[in-house]
């Protein structure tokens, strides 16, 4: 049992060097990176509507209130690193896309993320939710 726990812990520590969320890897305060994102709903008509505007009785800030995702358009510290933050945002887009049944117009959600890895120049990535159908 002891050997299993020790080996398991060492594997999880090593896994922290390639996984997004680094569970049980104890990499504390890994980066000083920051990020912000423009998150929009894309409708069937091609409209791109910021999620900062409530829609169909939904409010992004109520639905995604965790892990620093509540106000994505404000530049934030990437709490546990950029990879971790992007993975959470990506998952949040999917969650919102699949948990807003009253919304009849959105086809998918999209986030244009600008991030600054420590003091590197800004980089931009686009994340997209699964299609709502």
């Amino acid at each position: 049992m002891v050997a299993v726990v020790v080996v398991g812990q060492l594997v999880l520590v090593a896994r922290g060097y390639w996984s997004d969320h680094k569970e049980f890897a104890f990499q504390m305060f890994p980066e000083a990176s920051t990020w912000r994102a423009d998150v929009v709903r894309v409708t069937a008509g091609g409209e791109r509507i910021p999620v900062s505007k409530p829609w169909a009785g939904y409010r992004w800030s109520d639905m995604v209130a965790t892990r620093g995702l509540r106000y994505p358009d404000v530049r934030h510290h990437a709490d546990a690193g950029v990879d971790n933050q992007l993975a959470f945002l990506d998952a949040a887009l999917d969650w919102v896309a699949t948990h807003t049944p009253r919304d009849r117009e959105t086809v998918y959600l999209e986030a244009t993320v600008t991030y600054w890895y420590n003091d590197d120049d800004p980089r931009v990535v686009v994340l997209r939710s699964q299609d709502r159908s």
Binding site: Q9, F29, L69
Partner: protein
């Protein structure tokens, strides 16, 4: 604890195992490892750790309970299950389990139904942690590990048991510092100071509003300061991870660890990490009890107060207080014409190795070995 054995085996003393042929090579190493883990030791540190962890668990659960009181649980907003098959409970059952875990954590601290309370606390905290990737933070992961090992160790039917839970907790306590320090050591941005400097720059507005003196603020915002400071932070973490394993450096490492956690608590939001990590330092106490003797004179009110302090603060049960009314011969000849019987008898301590310390040196030794006063008294002992 009155009546507890004083002859507990020290797992770090390198005692030979029972008489049996010693094997050489890898099998021999495995035998020695096995013997080390199974060696009976005093598990008082686990009792103390359980007691300290209870409030940490309540503090950890509080945000979930607070949300529940406001009518919200995790699945009312974004969350991300690790696996689709992971069971999700009806709302009322989930909230009930959170309250049950809080009650079990209190029972752990009070020493009530300890085995069941620890197991329930572990099960609920672990279940809740693994409900969503968004629940996982390093401090919560560490809490689950500690609770898991305490659960596996069982309850305090007797305070003497196999050493493996202590070794496992020590390994985990050490790996937290080692993994954190190593990840920073191999990251040029961290070891070079970029990360700490940028973090400070990002919070300069809060810093400006803080009571930190202007000269210190300017220093903290200097890029060059962080070139050195980051290395100190990284090497401190690695030093703690390694130095806790050796008795010669353990007290320094534990003292530094407390300083380190106080600094982190003051400058960052780390949930229960500081409390948990400081509480977990008790597992580094040598697992033997009542092997230091404090001799007091029951007629001396100061000695009686000191004995009361020991009874109150000796959570790890390290001291045996012996009351001895000294004879004039023990006190020694009077000075300046004083009657020997009038001279104030001296409190003394016989340490584990037989060393006898008297007066303030004895008091400092005692205070440096009590969990709640050790951090203050250790520098005094070093200074003396």
């Amino acid at each position: 604890m009155p009546g507890a054995p004083v002859t507990d085996v020290d797992p770090e003393a390198g005692r030979a195992g029972p008489d049996r042929p010693r094997r050489s090579g890898l099998p021999g190493m495995l035998d020695r490892f096995d013997e080390l883990l199974g060696r009976p030791v005093n598990l008082r540190a686990l009792v103390v750790l359980r007691m300290l962890i209870g409030p940490v668990v309540v503090l950890h659960l509080w945000p979930f309970l607070s949300d529940a009181l406001d009518g919200r649980i995790y699945r009312d907003g974004f969350y991300e299950p690790y696996a689709s098959w992971y069971p999700e409970l009806p709302r009322a059952v989930y909230i009930g389990l959170l309250w049950l875990a809080a009650a079990a954590a209190v029972a752990m601290t009070l020493g009530l139904f300890v085995r069941v309370a620890t197991a329930v606390t572990f099960a609920v905290v672990a279940y809740n942690l693994l409900l969503s990737t968004t629940h996982v933070h390093s401090n919560r992961a560490y809490l689950v590990i500690v609770l898991g090992i305490l659960t596996m160790a069982g309850g305090p039917r007797t305070e003497v048991g196999p050493a493996w839970p202590l070794w496992l907790l020590r390994f985990e306590a050490s790996i937290v510092y080692a993994a954190s320090g190593f990840s920073k050591l191999v990251d040029p941005d961290w070891f070079g100071g970029t990360v700490t400097w940028l973090r400070t720059v990002h919070v300069r507005d809060e810093l400006a509003r803080s009571p930190v003196p202007g000269s210190v603020q300017r220093l903290l915002l200097e890029r060059g300061f962080h070139t050195g400071a980051a290395k100190v932070i990284v090497l401190t973490e690695l030093f703690i991870a390694v130095a806790l394993w050796w008795r010669g450096t353990r007290y320094l490492a534990a003292w530094l660890a407390v300083c380190f956690h106080i600094a982190i608590q003051a400058t960052a939001s780390v949930e229960v990490f500081s409390y948990l990590a400081i509480a977990a330092l008790v597992v580094w106490a040598v697992p033997s009890t009542r092997d230091r003797i404090v001799v007091i004179d029951p007629a001396d009110p100061g000695h009686r107060r000191f004995a009361a302090l020991i009874r109150w603060g000796d959570l790890l049960d390290r001291f045996r207080v012996v009351q001895v009314r000294p004879s004039p011969a023990d006190v020694g000849p009077g000075r300046d014409g004083q009657d020997p019987a009038d001279e104030r008898p001296r409190l003394y301590v016989i340490d584990r190795d037989g060393t006898r310390l008297e007066g303030s040196a004895a008091a400092v030794l005692v205070l440096s070995r009590l969990p709640l006063t050790a951090w203050f008294a250790l520098p005094l002992r070093r200074w003396r």
